[in-house]
C-alpha cells in the first residue's frame, strides 16, 4: 500500500518537474537610479492606468516556452523615478479623467507590444527584449497635444551561469533603462511637445507678470522656464 502511494507521489513529482521545465513565471524586480536632469518647469500629471500597472505578458505560441512576465510594476517604478526628476512637479493619476486644469500636461503611457528572443532561438548566449509604447500627452484641459510611438530594447550581457528568469529580468531592466533614457533625452524633442513648450514660454518674454500668474505660483518652475528661454 505504502509502495503504491510512493509510486503515485513520484509520478506526480515527475509530471510537475516536466511541466515546470517548459514554463517560466517572472515578476520583474527592478531598481532604477534617479536621472541627472534639469527639471522642465511644468506640472505634469502621469496616468498609471490599471492596464499599465498590471501588464503581464503571456506567451501563447505552443513552440515557445510558456513565459508569464509581469512588467507593470517595474514600469511604474521607472516612471515615478524618472518623472520626479524630469519635471518641476509631477502628479500621479489613475485615469485620464482625473485630468485637471491645474496640470500643465498629462502623460498617458501604454504598453502596446512586448517581444523577446531566447538563446535557443538566436543561438547566442543572450536574451533580448523589445517593448513598444504608445505615449499620449494632453493639456490640463484634455486637449491632445502629442501622440507618438516609443520603443525600448534590452539584452542580457550574458546568460552564462544565470537562471532563465534572472537573464530575462536583466534584459527587461536594461530595456526599461533604455526607455528612461529615451524619455529624459527625447521628451522635449517630440515636435508637438517642443512646440507646446515654446508657446508656454512665449508670453514670458512679452510680459513676465502675466506668466507668473499663469504658472500657479511655482517659483522653481518659473526659474527653469526663464533660464531655458534665455538659452534658446
Amino acid at each position: 500500500m505504502l509502495g503504491h502511494i510512493n509510486i503515485k507521489f513520484t509520478l506526480f513529482l515527475l509530471s510537475v518537474l516536466a511541466l515546470s521545465g517548459c514554463s517560466n513565471s517572472l515578476v520583474v524586480n527592478a531598481k532604477f537610479p534617479k536621472p541627472v536632469s534639469e527639471p522642465i518647469g511644468i506640472t505634469m500629471g502621469v496616468v498609471y492606468s490599471d492596464e499599465l500597472k498590471n501588464y503581464t505578458y503571456e506567451e501563447k505560441e505552443d513552440e515557445r516556452s510558456k513565459w508569464k512576465i509581469g512588467i507593470g510594476e517595474a514600469h511604474q517604478t521607472l516612471f515615478e523615478n524618472v518623472f520626479e526628476e524630469m519635471f518641476a512637479n509631477s502628479q500621479k493619476l489613475s485615469t485620464l479623467e482625473e485630468n485637471s486644469a491645474n496640470l500643465d500636461l498629462v502623460l498617458f503611457p501604454t504598453i502596446s507590444e512586448f517581444q523577446y528572443s531566447s538563446p535557443r532561438e538566436t543561438h547566442s548566449k543572450i536574451y533580448e527584449v523589445w517593448i513598444k509604447y504608445n505615449m499620449q500627452v494632453y493639456t490640463g484641459n484634455g486637449d491632445l497635444v502629442a501622440d507618438w510611438i516609443m520603443s525600448a530594447y534590452g539584452k542580457t550581457p550574458s546568460a552564462f551561469l544565470k537562471s532563465r528568469e534572472d537573464a530575462m529580468n536583466q534584459a527587461i531592466v536594461i530595456a526599461l533603462r533604455d526607455l528612461g533614457a529615451s524619455l529624459v533625452s527625447g521628451f522635449t524633442k517630440v515636435p508637438e511637445v517642443k512646440s507646446w513648450l515654446e508657446q508656454k514660454r512665449a508670453p514670458q518674454s512679452d510680459d513676465t507678470d502675466t506668466f507668473e500668474d499663469e504658472s500657479s505660483g511655482n517659483q522653481a518652475a518659473l526659474l527653469t522656464l526663464n533660464r531655458n528661454h534665455n538659452f534658446n
Binding site: V36, E38, K155, P157, G180
Partner: protein, 222 residues
C-alpha cells in the same frame, strides 16, 4: 579522502596545463609625456554597448579597472555600474557619447557637468570589442553505469579577443591616446575517465595586457 585527492589533482593539472595565449598590443599616444594625475582624480573604464551584434563584456571592464587600481601607483578607478548609475541616463547605450567632441554637451549642461565634477572624473577610458570562440572540434562522451562513471574523448576550441581602448580627457575634451589588443589561444580538454581542461585564458590575457599598457599612460602624483 580519495575524492579530495582526485579534486586536488584536477585543480593542479588545470593550473599546470593552462593553455597558451598570444597577445599583440598596438598603441598610439597624442603626447610622449605621461598624463599627470592626482591621486584623488577619478578614472572610469566603460564598455561600449551600442552594437546589437555584440557587447563588451562587463567582466573585462571590471578586470581592466582592477589592473589599473592595483599597486602603489594605482589609479582611483570608479566602477562602471556606479558611474553609469550616477550619470543616468547619459551613459546608456542610446545616449553615451561616441566621439570625444560629444562631451561638449555634458560640459555645457550644468546638471551633468556638476555631477561629473562632484565625482571628480578626469579621464574616461572606453573599451570596445569582445572575446569569441572562433573554432571548435573533437568530442567527449561520458557515461554512468552501476560500476561507475567516466568520460572519454578529446575536445579543442579556439578563442580570439579583439579590443580597442581609447582614453578621453573629460575636462579638455580631447583624446589622449588609444590602443588595440588582439589575443588568441587554443584550449584543450582531453578526457580519460575524468576530463582535464587545459584552458587558454584569452580574455584574461587581453585584460592584463591592456590594463598594464593603459596604466603606463598615467603618472600618479600625491
Amino acid at each position: 579522502m580519495k575524492t579530495r585527492v582526485m579534486n586536488c589533482l584536477v585543480v593542479f593539472a588545470s593550473i599546470l596545463f593552462a593553455g597558451c595565449t598570444s597577445l599583440t598590443i598596438d598603441e598610439h599616444r597624442t603626447s610622449e609625456d605621461r598624463i599627470n594625475i592626482e591621486s584623488d582624480q577619478t578614472v572610469v573604464v566603460l564598455g561600449r554597448r551600442h552594437s546589437s551584434e555584440y557587447e563588451t563584456e562587463p567582466s573585462l571592464i571590471s578586470c581592466v579597472g582592477n589592473v589599473l587600481k592595483r599597486g602603489s601607483d594605482g589609479l582611483n578607478v570608479m566602477s562602471e555600474s556606479e558611474f553609469v548609475d550616477a550619470l543616468y541616463p547619459w551613459f546608456e547605450p542610446r545616449t553615451a557619447p561616441l566621439h570625444v567632441n560629444d562631451l561638449g554637451r555634458f560640459l555645457d549642461d550644468s546638471t551633468i557637468h556638476g555631477t561629473m565634477e562632484a565625482l571628480n572624473v578626469s579621464y574616461i577610458i572606453w573599451i570596445d570589442g569582445q572575446t569569441e570562440t572562433t573554432d571548435s572540434s573533437g568530442s567527449i562522451g561520458c557515461s554512468i553505469s552501476v560500476g561507475g562513471a567516466g568520460c572519454f574523448g578529446f575536445g579543442t576550441w579556439d578563442k580570439e579577443s579583439d579590443y580597442e581602448a581609447v582614453v578621453w580627457d573629460y575636462r579638455n575634451r580631447k583624446t589622449e591616446g588609444q590602443l588595440s589588443a588582439d589575443a588568441s589561444g587554443t584550449s584543450y580538454m582531453p578526457a580519460i575517465i575524468i576530463p582535464i581542461p587545459i584552458i587558454a585564458r584569452v580574455q584574461n590575457s587581453a585584460c592584463k595586457g591592456m590594463g598594464a599598457q593603459l596604466k603606463s599612460f598615467f603618472a600618479t602624483q600625491e
